[in-house]
């Protein structure tokens, strides 16, 4: 009775839940969340112990600029990712044009390029000594930089473009999956009621896709908020820059943790607002409706527009950086080839693969527990477990060290006291610490997409399965997981690619003599030797392409399978 009263989800009727199994799911969700939330909680605790109160100085000096720059950057990246992501997803899903099948997966390619790498590449192309300005000087006969104006790539605008180019795939990916999922009959009905294609898009298609688009956009924006590599390289002063300044230059970790916590609160408010605004929506797809999508056939000029909409982001976000890296890698091959590459690549693949799998399992556990037990408390747990994404990687790494080293030392003291043996550090400084950090950081990606996909499965499915005598676990395995196969594969692969690119936490947490591709690139790039890092950077990009192709195929399959 009390369960019925607190239940928000009108679909699942409590009597179907055997109390014990439901509690088992809830407890496992609770435990997982507690572990996953530890690093973020550690940072929040650190925030209570600053070296000095940093705020008066910040407010007097740089804080206003940090805030304005951060907001401008986020708005800019938001606009770019939405514009590119939505338009290309729509074109690829609904329009028929030459190259459509190719762009279906090619749109995702920029996702394989780490933001710091694209920043390095465009700087080397567009700065004074680069080929673009060199050609212009030759052409117009200018002698040096004082004789002409050229846009400065190392600027807020530059950083916005760079981040937009590599982050739009988040929006594209989720928007496309949502468009594919929509019943074509909705579109047809809207058209038959006299709406144009464009107004149908804004009035029907977009509102239905909104939960998915919101997830994609918030992932892109959180990544923007936490980016340090690109903004640091471009000297764009965001809150993250202020955070690192407080930590590294003022030696005030507590102050830095306060800034991180403030950013976290900011993110939570944004996400909550978005959710609140569509609180009353509840959508379930009628699964029996599996009409194939009838794509628009279009006039030639319109087809050209579609090709352009899709080609431009791919060219700037992938082809140009990829080719440039390829050229550098070729030119500096002797200096940069290193037998350790294979080893570093295996490290990257192993860590990312393990983290992707772990993240997926936890994501499923949490999302399904919430489905079974949709209380306020479960919702809060879901949100809590996703907070790792809202924190800069290096700060999160410190948050990971605190509980892991704490546990190691606690166990060690215990063993010393009782048995006279030292167990030393077991978790801290191990590959486990890195996988843990990846899981905490990227759980938002998998839990978010599993949750939104699960929400669209009508509860009558659960009821049917349960009334046939299946336990919740069996229902999950037999009914939900097969249905969500595409989403699950996509979620795991997104996490995989993200882990391949992850840098700051890996740097801090790794064992001795341990390199991933990203850390290997960084040690040269951080010493202002970009050319030497071209080859390993190219390998990160190439390693990211394969999962991307798999990902795209898995999405298309979900539609054609039915």
């Amino acid at each position: 009775m009390s369960e019925a009263a607190t239940s928000v989800n009108p679909g699942l009727t409590p009597p179907l839940l055997a109390k014990r199994t439901s509690r088992r799911w809830m407890i496992s969700a609770l435990l997982t969340t507690a572990i996953v939330a530890l690093p973020v909680l550690s940072v929040i605790v650190l925030a209570f112990f600053p070296e000095e109160n940093i705020w008066p100085h910040l407010i007097d000096t740089t804080l206003p600029r940090y805030l304005v720059t951060t907001i401008k950057l986020m708005i800019g990246v938001g606009i770019i990712t939405l514009a590119i992501g939505l338009s290309s997803a729509w074109a690829v899903t609904m329009c028929e044009f030459p190259g459509r099948k190719f762009f279906e997966w090619a749109m995702l390619l920029p996702f394989a390029v780490p933001a710091y790498v694209i920043a390095y590449v465009y700087t080397s192309l567009l700065d004074y000594a680069g080929p673009v300005q060199g050609a212009l000087r030759d052409w117009f006969g200018w002698a040096n930089a004082s004789e002409y104006w050229f846009p400065e790539i190392r600027s807020l605008e530059g950083a916005t473009l760079m981040l937009g180019l590599v982050l739009y795939p988040y929006v594209y990916l989720l928007a496309r999956a949502a468009f594919l999922d929509q019943s074509p009959s909705l579109f047809a009905v809207s058209r038959s009621l006299g709406h144009s294609a464009l107004s149908t898009f804004f009035k029907v298609v977009l509102p239905i896709a909104r939960p998915a688009v919101a997830v994609g956009l918030s992932l892109a924006l959180m990544e923007t908020l936490n980016d340090f590599g690109t903004v640091d390289f471009f000297a764009v002063q965001t809150l993250t820059a202020g955070l690192f300044d407080t930590w590294m230059n003022l030696g005030n970790l507590g102050g830095a943790a306060q800034i991180a916590t403030t950013m976290l609160i900011f993110v939570v408010i944004l996400v909550t607002l978005e959710r609140y605004s569509r609180q009353r929506q509840q959508q379930f797809a009628a699964r029996d409706n599996r009409d194939p999508i009838r794509r628009f056939t279009m006039s030639f000029p319109r087809q050209l527009i579609c090709v352009a909409v899709c080609a431009v982001p791919v060219v700037f976000g992938f082809v140009i950086p990829g080719v440039t890296l390829g050229v550098y890698a070729w030119e500096y091959f002797d200096e940069s080839w290193n037998p350790a590459f294979l080893h570093n690549t295996l490290n990257s693949l192993f860590l990312s693969g393990t983290a992707a799998l772990t993240t997926l399992l936890i994501g499923i556990t949490l999302a399904y527990s919430r489905r079974l037990h949709n209380t306020r408390g479960m919702q809060v747990l879901m949100r809590l477990s996703s907070l790792g994404y809202a924190m800069p990687g290096a700060v999160l790494a410190v948050g990971v060290i605190v509980p892991l080293a704490g546990f190691d030392n606690w166990l060690d003291n215990l063993m010393r006291d009782f048995f006279g043996v030292s167990t030393g550090l077991l978790l801290s400084g191990s590959a486990f610490a890195i996988v843990f950090a990846y899981t905490v950081r990227f759980l938002a990606v998998s839990a978010g997409s599993v949750e939104s996909a699960l929400q669209k499965v009508t509860p009558s499915m659960d009821m049917a399965s349960r009334s046939l005598g299946n336990s919740p676990g069996k229902t999950l395995v037999k009914v939900h997981l097969p249905m969500l196969r595409g989403t699950l594969i996509t979620a795991a692969l997104v996490v995989f690619v993200d882990c391949m690119k992850e840098l700051p936490a890996t740097l801090i947490l790794r064992p001795f003599n341990f390199e991933t591709l990203a850390t290997y690139v960084y040690q040269f790039a951080s010493d202002e030797r970009l050319y030497h890092s071209a080859l390993p950077a190219l390998i990160i990009v190439l390693a990211g392409i394969i999962p991307i192709i798999l990902m795209s195929r898995s999405i298309s399959n979900t539609r054609s399978m039915a």
Partner: protein
């Protein structure tokens, strides 16, 4: 089934690194890139048979060391500037080392009075000028960087970079905070563009005609000369060792500390001694064009060509102590702003 897979993987993960730091090695947390240490560590292994293990990061290593406490596997921390060394001392993460070899090899002004850190190399923070547009001798001191004459002609990296912070700290030590603030405001007013990039980028900017004067560490120039694509830019600039006729040029150190936990203390001390020895000091000088800390080592090659530096005799400790004041000064004059 999947759960089992994950569990097996987790166990494999924890086992993985244990093989990487065996006893009898020496373990290093380094703020300096591992590949820059490689030639030194290889030479050390060849001489002693002791293998070195490295973790390189620019942030978070002190926090990791602190949290790992007495069980930390790290024996040694290597840094690239004085303020990081001072941090380690202030957080009580490193131990006193009373060692004759190190005390003989490293002059008193380049090591901690109680042996909590030792400088290994010094780098001068010098002024680069355009060979074309700036006469020799037109600028000879840091103070002159604030002259109106250089309006719109100076480029630097971020004022917040540790190398610039140390330079500003030394200015505070010599002139006091108020006068230094005025000076820094003057330098900012003279900037040709918003601070950005690294020290090499400023040298490139001079070659490109964006500005005429920049500040940078001495070794960047040397390393640019070694790189075919960067050599033309380096050849467009002249080196000025500021305040050579006065108090001397501001220097910073890269250094080394023995951690409190140091499980392989004997090996660690051997490595520290080795790094201060003529053999290792020569590698530093030739491989990264830095000045050897060991006064008995005569630099070769490019470093020798630059001639003797007259370093500012200001204690590095004082520079470290002024750090926070310097950082706040940079914010107050909005040095990194538009």
């Amino acid at each position: 089934m999947r759960m089992k897979l994950a569990a097996t993987a987790a166990i494999a993960l924890t086992a993985l690194p244990l093989t990487a730091s065996a006893d009898g090695d020496v373990n290093i947390y380094s703020y300096r890139q591992a590949y820059l240490l490689e030639p030194l560590l290889n030479a050390f292994e060849k001489e002693t048979g002791i293998k070195s293990n490295v973790v390189f990061a620019k942030q978070g290593l002190a926090e990791r060391l602190e949290r790992e406490g007495r069980n930390s596997p790290a024996d040694i921390v290597m840094t690239t500037d004085i303020s990081r060394l001072n941090d380690l001392v202030e957080r009580d993460l490193v131990q006193t080392l009373d060692n004759d070899v190190l005390e003989e090899n490293v002059p008193e002004n380049l090591r901690h009075p109680e042996g909590k850190w030792f400088g290994l190399t010094t780098r001068a923070r010098i002024i680069y000028t355009s060979k074309e547009r700036v006469e020799e001798g037109e600028i000879t001191t840091y103070e002159q960087l604030a002259d109106d004459k250089w309006d719109n002609r100076i480029c630097t990296r971020s004022g917040k970079h540790p190398y610039n912070i140390a330079l500003i700290s030394s200015m505070i030590a010599h002139h006091g905070e108020a006068e230094t603030e005025e000076w820094l405001q003057g330098v900012k007013d003279n900037l040709a563009r918003k601070p950005q990039g690294g020290d090499r980028d400023q040298i490139k900017a001079i070659a490109e005609g964006v500005c005429d004067v920049s500040i940078g560490n001495s070794y960047y120039y040397g390393n640019m000369l070694k790189d075919d694509s960067q050599r033309p830019a380096a050849e467009a600039v002249r080196l000025v060792f500021p305040n050579a006729d006065g108090r001397g040029t501001h220097i910073n150190i890269s250094g080394i500390s023995l951690t409190k936990s140091a499980p392989n203390k004997d090996n660690a001390i051997k490595l520290m001694e080795f790094l201060s020895s003529p053999e290792a000091q020569n590698i530093y000088a030739t491989a990264n064009t830095e000045y050897p800390a060991n006064p008995n080592v005569t630099p070769t090659g490019l470093v020798a060509e630059w001639g003797e530096v007259h370093p500012d005799s200001l204690s590095l400790q004082v520079i470290a102590e002024n750090r926070n004041a310097a950082v706040k000064l940079v914010d107050r004059v909005d040095y990194d702003g538009e």
